[in-house]
Symmetry: D2
Subunit: 338 residues, 4 copies
C-alpha cells in the first residue's frame, strides 16, 4: 500500500485524492497540505488517519509519506519537486513541471545528481487508450515513416483568467508533449498562424494554428480553438508515407432522430480523459511502490515542454518562426524518451 | 476497506482477485477457497494475510469476511448463496445464479425471508458505458416508446466444451438480462430461428436467431454467431416510435492504408467488457461496504434469466414459440427492476 | 436514339419522362397516354413531337414507338405488358408486374412463347451503387457463405391510402426482390412478427418484422417501420460464415455543433434512390436500343416477387409461417437470375 | 438539343464526348478537332453525323456548332477561348483557363468587352454533392462565421511527367478554386510548409502543406500528398465560430472481417468525382442551351486561380509568405462569385 502525501488540495488535488481513495488500488493518502489551511483541514477531515501539514516541506519529511503528489500553484512546483528529490522520495508533479525553463533545468540537474529517476510530470495523454493505439500503429510501420500530424484541440469555452498565452502554455502544451512522445523526437521550431478571430473569444486571439517542426523533418499543425461552444474535441491524424492513422471518434451511443444520425461529443476534458487520469496515477503508483522508478513523462519531458512552450509564445507574439534550443540531454534520460 | 472472501479460484475467480487487488479501491481479499485445494493454495500464497479455507461454508463463516464473491462451478452456486444469506452476508454470485429455475426460486424465497437484499448476480452489461448511454437515451423519451431491439452477439470462436444449448444459456443469456433491464419489462415468450449452418461451427447449430417478446409487446431479435472468426462484436439498436438509438462502434484508432479505411474490432469479451467488469465490482463494493444493500442485478433477475433461458432452450429444441411463465414477483424486488 | 412511349402520366410517369428528357442519353419520348386524358394532354404539350394516344394499345402499335414504359395503375399492367409482348416490343413495367400471381404467370408464359426477353420490371435496388458494392463483396467470398441478412426499411411516413397489406406488397417487396438477387436463390417461406404498435401508425399494424427463408437455408429479417418520422433509412447487413458486409451510411456532410456530431438522413426514397432510378432506366435504354434484350429484373422476377408477397400477406394475416410455392422455372430465365 | 464542338480529343476530350453521347441529355457532339488528326479522325468515326475539322478556328466557325468545349493542350486554351468569345459562342474550357495570368486577364477583358458571359472553366468540385452540402451548411450560419478550413488532397501516385510545381498548379489548384467559392472571398496570400520527404515521391518534394489566407482573415491549410499509395482521399473541414462542417466519408459498403471493420477508399479522382463531372457538364448544357449564359466558374475564377497558383509556386520556391495581388475585379463578375 503506497502512502502518498498530497501538496495542494484545490480542485485537481481533491480530484486526485478522490481517485486514490475511491478508484485506484494499492494506495492510501496519508498526508495533505495546502496554502489555504481551511481547505486542507476540510480535506484531511475526510481522510481517516491522514495528517494535516502546515508546509509542503513538513509533508515531504513525514516518514508516513512514501511518495509525493504536487498539485499546488505552478510557481511553487520547483521548490516541492526539489525538496522531494532531496528527500529521495518519488514525486508526481502536475503540469507544468515549473514555470520557467531555468527552473525545469534545475530540477533536471538535481535529479541527475541524485542518480535515479524520482520525478514524473502529469502529461496524461500518453495514458489515453486512443493515443496509445495510435502510437502502436505508427510504431508498427504500417503507415510508413510519419511525415506530418494534424491535430485539433477544441474547448467549448475557457475560464475568465485564461490569457492570450494560455493557448500555448495551458492548451497546446498537451500536444507539445504528445508529439514528442508520438514521434520519439524533439521539436526544433514553432510558428503560429493567426486566423480571423471568433466572436466567442472576447479579447483573446482565438483560434490559433500552431506549427511545430520536428528533428526528423516532420511537421505538425495544431488547431487551437478554445471557445468553440459545441464541445471538447481532441483529434489527431498522423500522416505517413503509405497511409495515415487517426484517433477514433468516441460515441457510446448513436441516435437516429429528427432527420439526423448523431452522436454525443464530450463536454469537457474530464469526460474525455477521465480514464487516462486513472491509468496515469495507477501506473505511477505501481511503478514507484516498492521502491521502483517512475516510467512516465520525465523531468526532461517537463523541461522540453517548457522550452517549446516558450518558443510558441514567442512565435505568437512575433508572428515569425522561432527555433527551439534545448540544453544537451543528459544520457540519464535517453531510454525513457525512446 | 471491505473484506471479501472468494469462493472459486479458477480463471474468473483469479481475475476478480486481480481486480480487487490491483485495480479497485476500498477492498481487500481476506479469504479464498476452491474445490481444487492446490490452486487455492497457490492463489492464497499471492495474497498476504488471506486465509485459505477448505470449504465455502468455512469461508462464509469467517469473521474476517464481510462479503462473499462466488465464482465456483455453477452447480455449487445455490448452496453458497443460500449459506451467505443465512449468514446475513452480502454475496456477489457470478452468472448463473443457479443451474435450475427451482434453485433460483429457492434463493429468491430465502432472500425475501431474510428481509433485505443480500444477493447480486454477475450480469455486467448493465455496467458498460455504451449500454448505459443507450438506456439513458431510451429512458429520455427521445426516440418515443421502444418497440423493437435488434441485437447481435458474435464471438470469434467458442471452446470445445461449448454445447448446442450454450448458445442460449451462456451466450444469449447476456442479452436476456440486458433486455429486461433496458425495457424495464419481463420477457413473455421465446422463439428460435435456425439459419443455414456455418462450416466454422462444427457440430453446433451456429448461427441462431433468438426472438424474444416483452410484456409490453416489444419484440427483440438476437443474432447469435459464435464462430464468426472476425472478432467479438456486440451490437444493439433500440427502435422507437420516432427514432432509434444504437450502441456506438468502438475504435480507438482509424487507419487509412492499402485502399481501405479500417478500425480494429475487439478480439474477445475481455477486451470489450474489461471496464464494465471493473465498474460492476467497484459499484458492488461501494454499495455493500458499511452495511448497505446491493443495487445491481438481483436474485429475481437471476431467476427470471433462468426461466427465459429455459424457454429459449425449449424453443431451440422444438422450433416453436415457447411462452415464459414466471412465479409472482415478490413486491420486495419491484424497485430494483424499474 | 431509342423512341419510348409512356403509358401512364401520373407522378411516376412524369418523373420517368423528366428523366428521359432532361437527364439520360440516347432516348426520346415519342408518345404518351393516360386514362386521365387531360393530364396526358398537358404532359404531351411539354414534349415537342410526341403523340398523344387515347389507349395504351394504340401507343404500343405506334410505329414511332420502339419500346414501352408502363407506369399506369397496377391492375392495367398485365394488359399492356401482354400487348407489348404481342407487338414484339421491349417493355419496362413499373412494379408490380401484375396484381396477381396468375397474371404474372401469364406474362411469363407469353414471353417464353415469344422466345426472347422483352419484359423488365422496375425493381431499382439492383441499380443502387451501395447494393451493388454489397453484392460484389458477398460474391467475392470474402465473408464466406452468406447465412443471414438483416434489413431495415424505414419510412418517415406513408400516405393515407396505405393499407395494412401495403407493408408487404408495396414496402417489403423491394427487399423481397433484392434478397433473391443478392443471394441468387428463391425464397421458400415467410413469417411475420408483430411488435407493439407505434402511435404514429394510426390504424396500421406498424412496425412489422418479416422473416424470409431461402432455398439454401439462409434467413433474412426485414424490419418494416413506415411511420418512424426521423427519415428514410434503408439498411442491410449480410452475415457470412467469416464476416459481414453492410450497406454504407451516406452522409455528404458531417456537422459538429451543439454537443453533437451529426449527419443528415435522407428524407424519402427520392433522395436516397434518385441515382438508382437514373441508372436503371439508362441501362434499360442501352440494353434494348438496337434490338437487344433487357438484362434487368425479368418477368420471372416479377412473378416470384408476387408469389412471395402473397405468402407474406398470408403470414401477416395468419401469424404463421407460410411456405412459398413457385411454378417450375422455365429454363429461359435461368441465366438472368444467377 | 445543344450542338457541341469539341477541341481536343485526348483522354479528357474523349471522356467528355462519351459523357455527352452516352450519359447526358439534351446534347449532341457535332464537330471535333485535334492537333493529332489521326486520333480526331478515329473519334469522329464513332460519332455519326459529326464533322472533323482541321483547326479549332474552323470548328468554332462551323454553323453546326452552338457551343465549344476546349480540352486541348493548356497553351492553346487562350486562342480557342478568345476565338469562341469573338464568335459569340459559349465555351467550356477545361482547367487551366490559360497558362499565364496575363492570358487569363486577356480573356477576362475580351469577355467583358463582349458584354455577356460566354466562358466557363472546368473546376468541377463545385458540382460535387458533398462540397455542395458542405457549402449549404456553411452558408446557413449553423457553424457561425467560418474561420479556418482544413483540407487534404491525397493521390495514390502521380504520373512521371508530374513536376515539383505541379503540386500547386495541377493538384492544389482544385482547392484554390474551391476555397474561393466556399468562402465567397478572394485569397490574399500563400505560404508553403515543407515536411520531411516521402520515399514514395522520388525527386519530388512530397508532401507539402499549402497555407492560404483569405480576404476576411480566414486561414486554410491544404495537405498535398501525391504518392500516398493507399488511395485518393479528398477531405475538408470548415471550422466556424460555433462548430464545424466536414465532407462526409464515402463508403458504399462496410466489411467486418479479419479483426477489422473496413470501408473502401476511392482509387482515383475518376471514382471519386465521376458524378461531379456529369453534373458539371449537364448544368453547363442546360444553362447555355437556348442562348442562356453559363452560371459555373467564370473567366474571373480562372484568372484568380492562376494568380493564386503563381503565388503558391513562388511560395514553394522561396519558402516565404507571398501576397496575392489581383487586378480590379470588373463589376461584370460580381454576382457569379457570391
Amino acid at each position: 500500500m503506497l502512502k502518498v502525501g498530497v501538496i495542494g488540495t484545490g480542485m485537481i488535488g481533491q480530484d486526485h485524492i478522490r481517485r486514490m481513495t475511491a478508484v485506484l488500488a494499492g494506495v492510501t493518502v496519508t498526508a495533505v497540505t495546502d496554502v489555504d489551511v481551511e481547505t486542507a483541514k476540510k480535506v484531511a477531515g475526510g481522510l481517516p488517519g491522514a495528517t494535516l501539514h502546515l508546509t509542503g516541506e513538513d509533508l515531504i519529511a513525514d516518514p508516513a509519506v512514501d511518495a509525493v503528489l504536487v498539485c499546488s500553484w505552478g510557481p511553487t512546483h520547483e521548490q516541492y519537486v526539489l525538496a522531494s528529490i532531496a528527500a529521495g522520495k518519488p514525486v508526481f508533479c502536475e503540469k507544468p513541471l515549473a514555470t520557467t525553463q531555468d527552473a525545469c533545468l534545475r530540477i533536471v540537474e538535481a535529479e541527475v545528481a541524485a542518480g535515479r529517476r524520482l520525478v514524473q510530470v502529469g502529461y496524461m495523454r500518453r495514458y489515453d487508450a486512443a493515443y496509445r493505439a495510435l502510437k502502436r500503429v505508427v510504431d508498427s510501420g504500417r503507415i510508413g515513416v510519419p511525415l506530418m500530424m494534424h491535430c485539433t484541440h477544441r474547448n467549448a469555452g475557457v475560464p475568465s483568467f485564461y490569457e492570450k498565452e494560455s493557448a500555448i502554455t495551458d492548451t497546446a502544451v498537451h500536444e507539445i508533449d504528445m508529439v514528442r512522445w508520438m514521434f520519439g523526437e524533439e521539436i526544433t521550431a514553432a510558428q503560429v498562424l493567426i486566423p480571423r478571430k471568433s466572436r466567442n473569444g472576447g479579447p483573446l486571439q482565438d483560434p490559433l494554428i500552431l506549427i511545430l517542426e520536428l528533428a526528423g523533418g516532420a511537421i505538425v499543425d495544431v488547431e487551437i480553438s478554445v471557445n468553440i461552444r459545441y464541445g471538447y474535441d481532441i483529434r489527431g491524424e498522423v500522416v505517413g508515407e503509405d497511409g495515415t492513422a487517426a484517433l477514433g471518434e468516441f460515441s457510446p451511443v448513436v441516435v437516429r432522430a429528427a432527420g439526423e444520425r448523431s452522436a454525443p461529443i464530450p463536454l469537457d476534458w474530464r469526460e474525455r480523459f477521465l480514464l487516462a487520469y486513472d491509468v496515469e496515477i495507477q501506473e505511477w503508483i505501481d511503478s514507484v511502490a516498492g521502491g521502483g522508478e517512475p516510467v512516465g513523462p520525465s523531468a526532461w519531458d517537463g523541461y522540453a515542454a517548457a522550452v517549446v512552450s516558450d518558443a510558441g509564445v514567442a512565435a505568437l507574439r512575433s508572428g515569425s518562426r522561432v527555433p527551439v534550443t534545448l540544453a544537451a540531454q543528459p544520457t540519464f534520460y535517453r531510454a525513457p524518451l525512446s
